[in-house]
Point group: C2
C-alpha cells in the first residue's frame, strides 16, 4: 500500500529536539479549509492532557483545521501545566496557520510525567508549518513514532472519487480499546460530523479495538479523522463504500501496529468462532492474546495448545471444556486440528511446529456456544520485548 496524498491536506514532519537522537518528533497535518472531525479516545481513567483537550473539541462538532502531534513526550500526569502547554501548542499552531486555536487538535506520545519542552516545540511549530506539503505524509508518519521500528500508513482510493489516507504509531501498551497509539486519518470526502463519528467508531471496533501487543492500555490513545470535502464527493451517513474504505485503512494500520509490536517476531491471528455473544467471544480472544504463556509459546513455535485452552478456561466465559475444537492454520494454507471436542488429536507435531516457525499463523478456536465470531490480531512475547521495556528510559 502506497501512501496517497489527499486533496485539501498538507503534511510535515520535523525534528524539534524532543528526541535526543535528533529524529523527527513533530508532525503537522493541516487542511486548506475547515474539516469535519471525529475521534476515538483511550478509556483509561488516567488521560493525558491532549486527550482531554481533543475530546472536548471533537465532541463539539465544530470544524477543525489541523493536527499537531509530538513524539518523545506524552504530556500525561502533568497536571494543570500540562493542559496549559497543550493549549499553548494549539495556539502557536493556529497563529501560524491563520486559524483559531479551537480548530487545532493536539497529540502527544512518549514518556509519562515530564512537562513538554515548550521552547523547542514553539520553534518546531514554525518549522513544521514551513515544511507543509501535499506529499509530507511520510515525514509526518515518521515524526509520531516512539519505540516503533517503522512508519505505518495506509491509503484507499474510492471509485466514488475520494481518498482515505491514514498514519499511525504504536508498538507497546497495545490492547483492545485503543493503546499507546496515535492515528490520524484524512479524507477528501465530504462527511458531516455525526456520520463521520459513527463511521469512525464502527471502524475502530473492528480494527484498533481488536489488536493486542502486551495488554496494557495507554493514557494517550487517540484516533482522529478529518474530512475536507475537497474531492467534491459527499458521503451520507451509513454509506457502505466509505465505511469499507475507512475500515480498510483502520485495519491495515492496526495490523501494522501488531506487526511492529515491541520485540514481535510472529503475527498471530486468533479466530474465536461460535461464541455465545460478541462481548464473551472477545473476552476469550483477549485472555489468549494477553497470556504471557501463550505468547511465549508463539515465540518458541511451540504448538502448546494446553496454554490456549487454559487461557480460554480462565477468561470468565463459561466455556465447555469438552466442546472445544482448536485448529492451527498456516499463513499459506496448511491447517491441522489439534483438539477435537476437548481431546487432543493425533496431530503431526513437527508439522505444527513448522507452521509456527513462519512469521504469521492463525489459531481458530470453536467454542460451540453460539454464532458470534471475533478475530483478534496479536504477536508473540520475545526476549527483545523484555529488553526494550526494561531499558526504555535509559
Amino acid at each position: 500500500m502506497d501512501i496517497q496524498p489527499v486533496s485539501g491536506f498538507r503534511a510535515a514532519g520535523v525534528a524539534c529536539g524532543i528526541k535526543e537522537s535528533g529524529a523527527l518528533d513533530l508532525a503537522l497535518i493541516a487542511a486548506d479549509g475547515p474539516c469535519t472531525a471525529a475521534g476515538v479516545f483511550t478509556t483509561n481513567r488516567v488521560k493525558a492532557a491532549p486527550v482531554l483537550y481533543d475530546a472536548q473539541v471533537v465532541v463539539s462538532g465544530q470544524p477543525v483545521r489541523a493536527v499537531i502531534a509530538n513524539s518523545g513526550n506524552a504530556n500525561a500526569c502533568t497536571g494543570e501545566l500540562g493542559m496549559l502547554n497543550t493549549i499553548a501548542l494549539a495556539e502557536k499552531t493556529a497563529r501560524h496557520l491563520g486559524c483559531t486555536p479551537g480548530e487545532v487538535l493536539v497529540l502527544s506520545t512518549g514518556v509519562i510525567g515530564v512537562q513538554l519542552p515548550m521552547g523547542p516545540l514553539q520553534s518546531g511549530v514554525e518549522a513544521a508549518v514551513s515544511a507543509l506539503s501535499p506529499d509530507g505524509w511520510d515525514a509526518a508518519a515518521q515524526a509520531i513514532l516512539t519505540t516503533d521500528t517503522r512508519p505505518k500508513f495506509a491509503s484507499v482510493t474510492s471509485k466514488a472519487g475520494y481518498t482515505v489516507t491514514g498514519i499511525a504509531k504504536g508498538s507497546g501498551m497495545i490492547a483492545p480499546h485503543m493503546a499507546t497509539m496515535l492515528a490520524v486519518i484524512a479524507t477528501d470526502a465530504a462527511v458531516e460530523h455525526p456520520a463521520l463519528q459513527q463511521a469512525l467508531s464502527a471502524a475502530a471496533e473492528v480494527s484498533f479495538n481488536r489488536i493486542v501487543v502486551d495488554g496494557d492500555m495507554s493514557t494517550n490513545d487517540t484516533l482522529l479523522t478529518l474530512a475536507s470535502g475537497a474531492s467534491g464527493t459527499t458521503v451520507d451517513a451509513g454509506d457502505p463504500a466509505f465505511q469499507q474504505a475507512l475500515e480498510q485503512v483502520c485495519i491495515e494500520l492496526a495490523r501494522a501496529i501488531v506487526r511492529d509490536g515491541e520485540g514481535a517476531t510472529k503475527f498471530v491471528t486468533l479466530e474465536i468462532v461460535n461464541g455465545p455473544d460478541d462481548a464473551s467471544t472477545k473476552d476469550v480472544a483477549r485472555a489468549i492474546a494477553t497470556s504471557p504463556l501463550c505468547k511465549t509459546a508463539f515465540y518458541g513455535a511451540d504448538p502448546n495448545w494446553g496454554r490456549i485452552i487454559a487461557a480460554a478456561g480462565r477468561s470468565g466465559v463459561s466455556v465447555d471444556p469438552d466442546a472445544l475444537d482448536l485448529w492451527l492454520i498456516g499463513a499459506d494454507g496448511p491447517s491441522m486440528q489439534l483438539l477435537d471436542a476437548g481431546q487432543p488429536t493425533d496431530y503431526d507435531e513437527p508439522a505444527a511446529v513448522s507452521i509456527m516457525q513462519a512469521d504469521a499463523f492463525t489459531f481458530r478456536l470453536d467454542l460451540h456456544m453460539g454464532a458470534s465470531a471475533v478475530t483478534v490480531w496479536t504477536c508473540d512475547l520475545s526476549h527483545e520485548y523484555v529488553s526494550i521495556n526494561a531499558e526504555y528510559r535509559t
Copy 2:
C-alpha cells in the same frame, strides 16, 4: 523456616520415571489414621481430572488418609481416560496403604493433554509406600516440582501443642485465585471438616490468592489440608491461633512461589491502600501485577511510575488520577514518594533506581477512595521467563 514432621503423618518422594531427567516425580503423604480434609481448587473452567476428583471427595466431608501427587504430567484435557487413570491411582495407593480408594486424594502437575504413564506410576506407588517416613517431607516437596528451582515448605508449631507443615510447588501460571500450583498442608490438630474448610478458604484468600507471577491460571491448582488430630489438641471453628498458624504457613508458601517465579529476579510487594472496597482494590493491584510493562520496569530497576499509574487507570476501577500518591519503599527501609496527588515529585531518581536494584522492594499506591487495603506479591518479567516458556516442551 525448617520443615517440621507432623505427628500422625509420613511422607515420601520417589522417582517413577515420568520425568526423563530421573528427578523425583511422585510424592505420597499418608496419615496413620483418618483425617479431616479441606481443599481449595482452581476456578478455571477447564479443570484437570484430579481436580474434579478431589473436589468431590473433599466436599463429601468424609475422612481422608493420603495424598498421592505426581509431577511431569498434569492429567488435564485427557477426557474419560484421564479420570479413569486418576481413580486407578487412588485405588493402587489405597490398596498398598490398606484404606479405601475414597480416602486417597490425587494431585497432578505438568504438561497438559498427555495421558498419565500408568505403568511407571503403579510401580512408583509401591516404591513411595515403602519409602514413607515421618521425615520424608523434603523428598515429597522435591517430587512435586516442575519448572520450580527449589522446594517450598513452611512449618509453624503452635504453643497449643500442634504443628502445621506445608509443601507447595508453583512457579509459572501464577495469578490470583490459585495458579499452576499445588500445596498440601498437614496438621496434627484435631479440626472438624467444616471448620477446617472455613479456615483454609480464609487463609487462601490472603496468601495464594494474593500472588501473581504471570497472570495465567492453571487447570490443576489445588490446595489441600489434612488434619490428623494426633497431637490431641482440638481446634474449634474460628480459633484465632489456628487460623494464624495456617495463614502463616500459606503466606510463607505463597511468597516462596513468587520468589521462585519463572525467571524472577525481583520480589515485589504491591500495597494498594485506601481503596473503595476489597474487590476494587484487588483489581487495581492485579492490573499492576499482571502488566508486562510494569514487570519489565521492575526487571530493569526503572522507577517508571507512569506505567504503574497507567495500569491502575485501566483496571476498571474509577480511580481519580489527581488523587493518587505513590511511594517506593526499599526492603531495608528507605522510602520515597514518587507521585503526590497525581503529580510527579522531585524525587532522587538515582536513589530510586538503587532501591529497585535490590532483589525486593515495595510500591505503595494510595487511591484516596476509601478504607480498603490489599497487599499482593509479584515478581518481574525477565529474559529468563521468556526463555523458560518459549522452550518448555523442548
